[in-house]
């Protein structure tokens, strides 16, 4: 029955313009449904990953209750654990293949237990100073609390997959897990060091935990992004409105200031091979050639006419399609010449925001912004999540998946 409804739905929603075809292929809140869809499409799109672990928490006074559910590739629930402890915190890394439990012990020590996607203990340590961050490449980095100022002598230990210490890092307090990237083959990771004493360090580690290079940038919000091949690393430095493009060896290869030198929160993405860069800010979109640094095209009109502001940008099919998602829930698809191919609204609904001015709270209705987007192969995946929990921590409660292809 579900398949029939699904087929009908797909038939109803299939936008086909002259040069692009956009199909909604799935909208679901079911892990089982999502994992089965992944299984069906994994041959065609190997980078699709099923959801294997999902954790939720509930706070009752001083007590925290965690529910952890383990799933198989088919989306069948393997087991469910409930943990209740006022001193426990739980973290599922972005790789979604393990679980990190941290329990505060007496004094300064913390006990950290790492479990795999089946719930088996991989290793346990009881001497972690505050917490342990997983980098996605078989390497863990110790972290301190953000309340604890780091200095140039702060030393964070690095551990391998077995929990053995394999090195150290200096000069910052923790990994900002909102800014951590690894290429498809996971040969390295690059991350932002949180709570630094000096400038913000962007650090690349290899799979042995060795620091390959570090670039220290002035304070001001940054964001990291990399090409899927891992050949290019981008740093957005919002304080100066700059995009810095590095090669894998840490050499600065391009520097852009696409919207002027000011405070701008810019969104950017590389094509898979890193040759192209799409960037957006407010209602402007620009497309660069990273080999030459040349501006290929810009569009300052299309979004402005609809009073749209950019939330995410993506490059699909190695730069053939430029996808811009806006706070209005609009999807814009451009081609490599900047020609607008399609506009579609995916309608996530609204919610109320309570504003407080001079102590008086008034509620305003706004379009929901609890969503983020991914592009994997020819699929655009919109993840809606609850309670402001962003993409660093969740697979999303609801997924809307579009297939974007040539007709």
């Amino acid at each position: 029955m579900r398949r029939i409804i699904f087929a009908m739905f797909t038939f109803i929603f299939c936008l086909s313009w002259a040069e692009v075809k956009v199909e909604k292929v799935l909208e679901t809140t079911s892990i089982k449904e999502y994992n089965q869809w992944v299984k069906q499409n994994k041959v065609k799109c190997p980078k699709l990953e099923p959801i294997l672990i999902q954790s939720s928490h509930e706070i009752r006074g001083v007590l925290r209750q965690y529910t952890i559910r383990y799933y198989n590739q088919n989306g069948e629930k393997l087991k469910e654990e409930t943990l209740q402890d006022s001193l426990l915190s739980i973290y599922v890394p972005f790789t979604n293949d393990r679980l990190i439990l941290r329990k505060k012990l007496q004094g300064d020590a913390n006990e950290v237990t790492v479990k795999n996607a089946e719930g088996q203990v991989l290793f346990k340590r009881d001497d972690i100073r505050t917490h342990l961050a997983y980098t996605g490449i078989g390497v863990y980095v110790e972290g301190l609390s953000a309340e604890c100022p780091a200095d140039e002598n702060t030393v964070l230990r690095i551990f391998n997959e077995n929990g053995q210490e394999i090195g150290t890092l200096r000069g910052f307090g923790f990994i900002n897990l909102l800014n951590i990237c690894a290429p498809n083959d996971r040969r390295y990771c690059v991350f932002e060091g949180g709570n630094p004493y000096h400038g913000i360090p962007v650090i690349m580690l290899n799979r042995t935990g060795k620091e390959l290079w570090r670039y220290e940038i002035d304070r001001g919000v940054i964001s990291l992004f990399i090409s899927k091949t891992g050949l290019h690393i981008g740093i957005l430095h919002s304080n100066k409105g700059k995009i810095l493009v590095f090669d894998e060896n840490g050499n600065l290869v391009q520097e852009y200031t696409p919207f002027g030198e000011n405070w701008y929160w810019i969104l950017s993405a590389f094509s898979d091979d890193g040759q192209w860069l799409v960037t957006g800010f407010h209602s402007k979109v620009k497309f660069y050639n990273n080999k030459t640094g040349a501006l290929v095209w810009e569009d300052t009109v299309t979004l402005k006419e609809k009073a749209d502001t950019v939330k995410y940008v993506h490059s699909m099919k190695n730069g053939d399609f430029i996808i811009v998602l806006c706070n209005s829930h609009n999807i814009y698809v451009f081609d490599t010449t900047g020609k607008l191919l399609l506009v579609h609204n995916f309608r996530l609904g609204k919610h109320l925001i309570p504003r407080r001015i001079h102590g008086t709270v008034t509620e305003f209705e706004v379009l929901t912004q609890n969503w983020y987007s991914d592009v994997i192969g020819e699929y655009l995946i919109i993840n809606k999540y609850s309670n402001g929990v962003s993409g660093a921590r969740t697979q999303g409660d609801m997924k809307i998946i579009y297939r974007i292809s040539e007709p």
Binding site: V221, R356, N387, G388, S390
Partner: protein, 399 residues
């Protein structure tokens, strides 16, 4: 300590001129009670607490403390959950100006994802219906602002939010006086010259040699009486024999409510001998300036602002005086900034008191501990200097 340059002073003036007109609001909504369970500058395992911990059991909306703010950004780690940073703005009509200060909000499980980094907002929440790790919001204010709007980019200049109007705790339940637990006299022979320190326990106080298995330094620990001010006869006495330098360390804490862990107090003052005011009402007589005071308003920063102090003012170097969130130890003297090899002992205008400079006899000290609500607890202790091989008990009794 560096001397403030003219430009720094200008910035300082701008800061205070702005801040005096700026309204600040309690960051949690609804405002159930305005109190904290962790105070500014508590010493915590290697660092000072750079903000206040506001209890938050349940679900709350978090607002920036200034209505108008620039959303600087957020980060997340497994220990702290979400960390949101804003820069404060002031607003008049439709005009908005950046202030050279900002704030951070830590431990939120959820944040408001409608906010964009770098944008200025008025009244928008930072988080809606969020819970908090360890059921508290860590709130801190920083000056200069956490970003480099003026080129001053050191985010580590934290200051006490309580010095702002509307951010002082307003907890009707906090009528608890701070607690004075113990006074420790450090009897390490390397510190005290050729003297010995003993209790003179004629009134039967709890006064013991305190050893810890991990240290060889003997501390003499005196349990401070629950009542002592203005009544010399029940004050405990410490006997110092010979020429010595003695370190006095105080264990004290602030009780906010019975339901939460203790906080560090707001200030600790030490009065010495004739500086001691008489009677409860004269504790803050301006004529009677304390010999030494630790007042937790600001961490030291490069601008040399007032009320700076050093990490060593909160004693934490070794067991048994290791401080954590529920145990607070304070030096009753400025620590050895010069690193001249001595622990720069107690109470003397030239940084320490050496009993070499004192005559035989009894010397009273008064310890005054105050919390943010102005609740005060005092304790008097008499130490007795003896340089001969005999004890002048009578002088002590007749003092």
């Amino acid at each position: 300590m560096r001397t403030p340059t003219a430009s720094y002073l200008f910035i300082l003036c701008c800061f205070f001129s702005f801040s005096s007109a700026q309204e600040y609001s309690w960051p949690l909504y609804p405002v159930l009670e305005r109190y904290c369970r962790g105070t500014f500058c508590e010493y915590r395992s290697g660092h000072f607490h750079e903000g206040i911990d506001i209890p938050a059991s349940g679900s709350f909306t978090v607002y920036a403390t200034t209505d108008t703010f620039k959303y600087i950004g957020n980060s997340w780690n497994a220990e702290d959950q979400y960390i949101v940073t804003v820069q404060h703005y002031t607003q008049s009509g439709s005009s908005q100006w950046p202030l050279d200060e900002g704030s951070r909000y830590i431990h939120m499980y959820n944040i408001n994802t409608t906010l964009s980094e770098g944008e200025i907002y008025v009244g928008e929440p930072l988080a809606v219906n969020t819970g908090f790790l360890d059921i508290h919001l860590h709130f801190e204010m920083r000056w200069p602002a956490p970003v480099g709007v003026s080129g001053l980019e050191n985010i580590f200049n934290a200051y006490n939010p309580f010095i702002k109007d509307n951010l002082c705790p307003d907890d009707p339940d906090d009528d608890y006086k701070p607690v004075l637990d113990y006074l420790y006299a450090d009897g390490d022979v390397d510190h005290q010259g050729n003297a010995t320190i003993n209790s003179w326990n004629f009134l039967g106080y709890d006064f013991m040699n305190y050893y810890d298995s991990t240290t060889v330094s003997p501390f003499i620990r005196l349990t401070l009486p629950t009542e002592s001010s203005g009544n010399d006869l029940d004050d405990p006495h410490i006997m110092i024999s010979g020429n010595c330098k003695v370190r006095f360390i105080l264990k004290a804490k602030d009780e906010v409510t019975s339901g939460y862990p203790n906080c560090a107090p707001y200030s600790i003052s030490l009065f010495f001998a004739d500086q001691i005011p008489f009677g409860e009402d004269e504790l803050y007589d301006p004529e009677k300036t304390p010999f030494h005071q630790v007042k937790f308003d600001e961490l030291e920063n490069e601008f040399g602002q007032n009320e700076t102090y050093d990490e060593e003012d909160v004693y934490h170097t070794e067991s048994p005086l290791v401080s954590d969130q529920s145990t607070f130890y304070y030096r009753l003297y400025p620590h050895d900034k010069n690193g001249d090899g001595y622990p720069d002992c107690i109470i003397n205008p030239s940084r320490y008191l050496s009993t070499e400079g004192l005559q035989n006899g009894q010397y009273p000290i008064r310890i005054v501990v105050t919390d943010y609500e102005g609740n005060t607890k005092t304790a008097d202790v008499h130490f007795y200097v003896r340089k001969q091989n005999w004890v002048d008990y009578c002088r002590a009794f007749n003092y």
